[in-house]
Symmetry: D2
Subunit: 504 residues, 4 copies
Amino acid sequence: MISHPVIWAFRTSVGCWRHRSVLKAALQATEISGWRCFSSTIRVGVAGMEEILARVVAPLPTYETRDKSPPPPESNSVEFMHFYKSLSKEDKLDFLTKLSQDFGVEHKSVSELAGKLLDNQLRDLSTILQVEDRLRYSLTPRYKQLLGHISRVENGVKFLVDLRADVLEILSSKASDSPHMRDLSGTLKSLLSEWFSVGLLRLERITWQSPCEVLQKISQYEAVHPIRNWTDLKRRVGPYRRCYAFTHAAMPGEPLVVLHVALTEDISDNIQGIVREFATLDSEEDVNKVNAAVFYSISSTQAGLQGVELGNYLIKRVVRELQSEFPHMTQFSSLSPIPGFSSWLQGLLSQCRKEGRSADLLSGHEWKEVEQATDSSPGTAAVDALRKLIGTSEWMHSERLCRVLEPALMRLCAWYLYGEKRRGYALNPVANFHLQNGATMWRLNWLGDSSPRGVANSCGIMVNYRYFLKDTSKNGALYLQSKAITASEQVLGLVSQFQKNSKL
Amino acid sequence: MISHPVIWAFRTSVGCWRHRSVLKAALQATEISGWRCFSSTIRVGVAGMEEILARVVAPLPTYETRDKSPPPPESNSVEFMHFYKSLSKEDKLDFLTKLSQDFGVEHKSVSELAGKLLDNQLRDLSTILQVEDRLRYSLTPRYKQLLGHISRVENGVKFLVDLRADVLEILSSKASDSPHMRDLSGTLKSLLSEWFSVGLLRLERITWQSPCEVLQKISQYEAVHPIRNWTDLKRRVGPYRRCYAFTHAAMPGEPLVVLHVALTEDISDNIQGIVREFATLDSEEDVNKVNAAVFYSISSTQAGLQGVELGNYLIKRVVRELQSEFPHMTQFSSLSPIPGFSSWLQGLLSQCRKEGRSADLLSGHEWKEVEQATDSSPGTAAVDALRKLIGTSEWMHSERLCRVLEPALMRLCAWYLYGEKRRGYALNPVANFHLQNGATMWRLNWLGDSSPRGVANSCGIMVNYRYFLKDTSKNGALYLQSKAITASEQVLGLVSQFQKNSKL
Amino acid sequence: MISHPVIWAFRTSVGCWRHRSVLKAALQATEISGWRCFSSTIRVGVAGMEEILARVVAPLPTYETRDKSPPPPESNSVEFMHFYKSLSKEDKLDFLTKLSQDFGVEHKSVSELAGKLLDNQLRDLSTILQVEDRLRYSLTPRYKQLLGHISRVENGVKFLVDLRADVLEILSSKASDSPHMRDLSGTLKSLLSEWFSVGLLRLERITWQSPCEVLQKISQYEAVHPIRNWTDLKRRVGPYRRCYAFTHAAMPGEPLVVLHVALTEDISDNIQGIVREFATLDSEEDVNKVNAAVFYSISSTQAGLQGVELGNYLIKRVVRELQSEFPHMTQFSSLSPIPGFSSWLQGLLSQCRKEGRSADLLSGHEWKEVEQATDSSPGTAAVDALRKLIGTSEWMHSERLCRVLEPALMRLCAWYLYGEKRRGYALNPVANFHLQNGATMWRLNWLGDSSPRGVANSCGIMVNYRYFLKDTSKNGALYLQSKAITASEQVLGLVSQFQKNSKL
Amino acid sequence: MISHPVIWAFRTSVGCWRHRSVLKAALQATEISGWRCFSSTIRVGVAGMEEILARVVAPLPTYETRDKSPPPPESNSVEFMHFYKSLSKEDKLDFLTKLSQDFGVEHKSVSELAGKLLDNQLRDLSTILQVEDRLRYSLTPRYKQLLGHISRVENGVKFLVDLRADVLEILSSKASDSPHMRDLSGTLKSLLSEWFSVGLLRLERITWQSPCEVLQKISQYEAVHPIRNWTDLKRRVGPYRRCYAFTHAAMPGEPLVVLHVALTEDISDNIQGIVREFATLDSEEDVNKVNAAVFYSISSTQAGLQGVELGNYLIKRVVRELQSEFPHMTQFSSLSPIPGFSSWLQGLLSQCRKEGRSADLLSGHEWKEVEQATDSSPGTAAVDALRKLIGTSEWMHSERLCRVLEPALMRLCAWYLYGEKRRGYALNPVANFHLQNGATMWRLNWLGDSSPRGVANSCGIMVNYRYFLKDTSKNGALYLQSKAITASEQVLGLVSQFQKNSKL
């Protein structure tokens, strides 16, 4: 249910695809050259870069005159933006490397002040505070001022968001691994965090009366359950549906993070019931049939805002909004995809085959059924048959196989979500997102997404992360601090079945 | 023409009055208790303060977990806001003192990291950068996080703006002079600077169709040439007038800085022609009569945004706006008051009387005229007579005295504006503001403001600071860096007359 | 509670004043010369009028070519409007007389077709229908087309509204009594009725965020309980208050009829509690304290829309609006003034004095009390004393007189409202308005309006006309068709006391 | 360039198709059952119809009480609307027949008053006027009041527009030909004409920022040059394009008539250059390249507004709008299709073949070329060959045939547009529309529309009707009154070639 580039946009193949589509959209909107897309531009000489950087990135004023430095002419910022946009991908890398290395923090001043501070231990508090303030100031990278000036120019904030997307891609693609580049990313992130602070965001409900420009973007950005046509789009903003987005004054007409909600009688266990339900188009909402809000898609649209928390805040704002519209509503839950489950499973099968531990995955009885259904001999052959079944989604077309595989896939999936970790946190990015928000891993839904994509990615299983409002604060803190996952009995039961079977 | 609280709001009596009116307005809007105004509230025990601070101001997470700390529940911020607003003036002082002292930077961590950095001199750049980043993080005051959380709550940004206004008044009234309080002010300023960055501001043209809420505020905030009634207000947003304001998404309906412009045939030399001109109310603008834009009033409305540059950017945005509406327009100028001139003059007269240097101020011939007109004997008596004339504005009613005093007052005034300095910059705050913006001290206007207030404050003299667009960048930098004032021949001529006469 | 110009704007002195203020407002907005106000304009020759009328009022096309007549150039309409606006009051009278007489229906065609129709009695239905249609067409006044063309020009609709106001004033002031002028008024009314049909009106809630232009008009148009200043105005659109208006696409920014509502715990019996209640300004509404909606002022703003029903529809729309905002609300009532009661009473006293029937008005005991309190002898002197008391409102300052007069004034007032008629309908215009709408004459309130104006107009008495929603349809029809007034027991009791006393 | 249902929607096949698509759109929006589409509804008994009509269509009040009749409860109108919408097509016909026959004008009253009027000839003018007014009133059909009440109910105006569309289709399909039905249509038209008077319409520019709801309708309604997808739609509201619509307060979100304009350097002679020009999507408009405004599509969307002039006013308003945006623009022209030319030509060929007058159409030389190209023998066979060529659009693929046929088709087409008449006016509905507006038949464009549809309908020829602003008033009147067509030399030259050849 999430395509949160914050976390996984650059790792999985879906993420990659997604990122490109986002970039492409950004391109159409602002004509900023993307990373891999255009490299036909003539390469700029190093001398040109140095010249322009020396000219537009002014030295940091002294501490004393820091409030007396006049802003540079706006043309400075505009020149920088135009120059950068005209660069090829390779030149951008060179340019950003130069910028981050040669126009960062002046280490000499820093260490001088550090020395002073140590001396100052003996003296009065007032002096200590003053030296600390000077030290803090000296830790400002020289380029930070320029970034601030750019933010004031028309489309400047969008430029910086896209600049950070470039920096992030450089870092994640290992094109550069310099600590200076990481510093540049950090400086950009801290600036963007202030500018995109939640108090400055506007919640907008998207309806069929919203500007076409915005709806077209909503349509483009929806990667989780792609929107096929006008009718499909109209339904996603029509009766029994809500679509909300955060927008920002400095990037008008640009939804930053989008949340799709279905208003249902019970918490949905199937996505097709939401995105293919044709009857709803013209009907009027019957408030008595609205008991639950199901978040069935959330998409961040700006790769450059990775690490700037928006999705969490959006869900919370939307919950408040819905509570004021439907005071009696008490059930809030996601209906989420499980990207990566199938490939994790394939990896596991492959490993078990190698290690001959296939009994860890399926019970003897289950293997027997697989063998019969696939007409394969026990052992390696059966594992291969199973891998093929999952790789091709063929099992879906056999009622028998469905019946056989259901318990096995459900407990494997429960383990994947609950037990597989990365640095102690849930490996699955969607799970990690909702658990951070304080949701409970509530219910796995067999055949929750029977679309080819759903079957290919997660054997058709979907999961509800449920938001029990009075517990989210506590759950979120628990997860973030102790890495403990709150889960329902269904999920814990499946996990324990898995553990029993695999003797883990 | 300016009531820029940034600089003088707390010093002159006009400033004081103004500040109170602004506070009062703020009070009406947000019900936040002001500083001096309300102290009837029951004092809160120190223990209560400590308890609440300990609870809501969370410790800074470790550097490693800084991105993993969940936001505290919103109720935390709301509680802090309510508690603070309920405090009496005295309690606020205690509370802020406690907050700034006990919940600021942890000096021990800072000095440890400073020590590490000095050690690290020997090691690789990557480590240095990492330690610098940790050092930077350790210089974050503990309360900074809380301020960030408050900004996300409804009306939170406005609360912080008003909080800073309180801190500034504590500092300027010498109620406290602790370096921690200054640190708190600095932290608030840096946060507000990011949130009120120009890229996030919206330029709004205020017209008679604007919401009444906004127009009422425009009316209240206009301290320079007070608005008397609806008709007066309607005229200031009517034909041949423009009224622009910056607003901010987080403070809807609240103009932050307001600029009034008159569209004229020539640069105005008289304010009554602008604010009393009744004929314009229903007429339609004739574009051929619009050659000049005269900025006749600029007001910052938020005391808490002192030091966050808005006025300068507003003037520049408005110039662009006007150029696009009137492509042929080439003259841009302020018509500004000269607050403080009369009291400076009284001080000078008093001093000269004591030192017997009256000849420095008026020529022998001029003194003679004064003596005759006031029927006083030469020397001390004449000086006293002149002081009384100026103190009572009586000279205005005598045509003869007007004629006599004009050259003297004009050259004294030119000196006051051009020659009197504070830390090297123009003493007069309005002059300082426009000179920083890159304007030229262009023309002194005799009888520019014949209102009782104008005569009392500046002997009726007004001044135009003219914006020659191609020079403002250069002029502004020159003034800020070399403290050099760009002035016209008229002004320089008057200054040199003053110098010749007073042998300075 | 009503200043419904529809009915009484031109008869009472308040009406006159009101009309002028409305006209003045219209003048400011559209610069149309009012009736009595400006007559300095030079008189236009009769020849000029005839020339322009002949030119711009095109002949009616033949029946056959009626859909083939091209619209005249817009300049035609504009010329007519400018010409008319430039005329003096006297010239307008001449001009409208000429227009209505010489450019009306062509009687010859009408009577020819009437003849044909009588012939046609013998022939088939199809022919009859055709002749009827021709007859209908021939009854179109020639000027009607021009009026239609004018409505399409900018500000044309407003011009026609004001034109009809002029025609109405001519008729009501007996400046003309020609049947042609009445025809012109009727034609205008029928056109305006279509254009101002309720389906084309927009309900707007007026708040402090509404455009200043609109709020200023709301303030000007409120004649019932005049608005004194910004604070007063702000309160009337603030918490526990609602202000609604109908507007029309062709007259943007112009409220046509305005309804002020107070949201209260019980149906109010006193207007000062509504318009002087200072506590409400900043408080938030507590939905549990809102049980009743009290319509305390309704004003039609366009004299030219007399006879075009708007107020009735506005009340009904507002009731629906309030029901959807406060589903539990069940009490809807006006709190209305009783204009004309005092002067009716003075007339009655005068007549009784002449006819020596003073016992019809007050009982013996009551007269005795009046004599004692005023120190007057019985009979004529006591009547005179009472007349003086009422004329000067002095009785209000004596507690004793208040006590003495209350029962007498209450039963007289009940009779005035319930028993005094004009063509069978209630004489009092406000009563007539609410009774037509289907309201019940519900409660007379002693000291309901203690303002000088309230005491002078209606001895301080006010009345509630209550809207019992399920009965209004029935009541309205009953009143309009059988002239029967629905009243509460309190009112009927007072009426019967009056009848008993006066032997009516 | 026009699909003006006003005139031809029900005659040509394109019109039929168009009408249905419009109806379908209306259906989606308002759920009103269309004519042919749904007839599955159970038929309602005649008794039911009579009962409901008798109940909701109140008798006309007497002349005396006409202003005293209270409006019926709104539920009356709502019931009527629901009942009507629930009827099958056949039942609607019955119902409307009943309504128009039994609830129309009361002929007895009319003829009585007609008699009175003839008597009255002898008496005074005042009485005549009064009787005329009564007569006028008596000519009101009883159902007219109900229609007025319906217009006040939510969606009532739209209901009446669609009701009239039904009535028109009944009349045009000859399902009924009763004079009463025509009266009902006329009554509806006159009411709608008042409500949709131009002064009540709002001009809206449609852009990519307009609500999606509106843009989707624009897309659906565009029948002339169908819109294929989002990109296509975006381009039609993007740079170098303008899209305007009239909307009405009573039908929000519903464009009534839509005009598409291309901003070009010269008056376009080819439609593909406008609707397929991909380069323009993201470019910025260069004002220097905008010399001409080409109206390339105008569509009326509401069949029920036939005869209510909107298109003409829209073109004129748009011209004013464009002139204020581009003061230097002087060329205004349509680029219009010529629907019906091909089928007219086929008819002509067929007739000439029968009458052996083929020489009237093509010259001997031209026939020879046709014979050679089609390998057919002279005479009948050649005519047949030509008919086949035109019927199949095959000639377009042969360069030779194109060259051969160009002069013939051009002069035939010129004649079709200029010489073929219906009741004296141009037979071609698009020509008739623009000529009524005062445009000049300016230029025929060979290969103006090379799309399959363009070739099939009009042999690929398009025509410009040019608007010379200072002449349109005069031209329009001339055409409407004397049926004279203003045409350019090119057109007149072609016409005269045709005449010479065909000896007409």
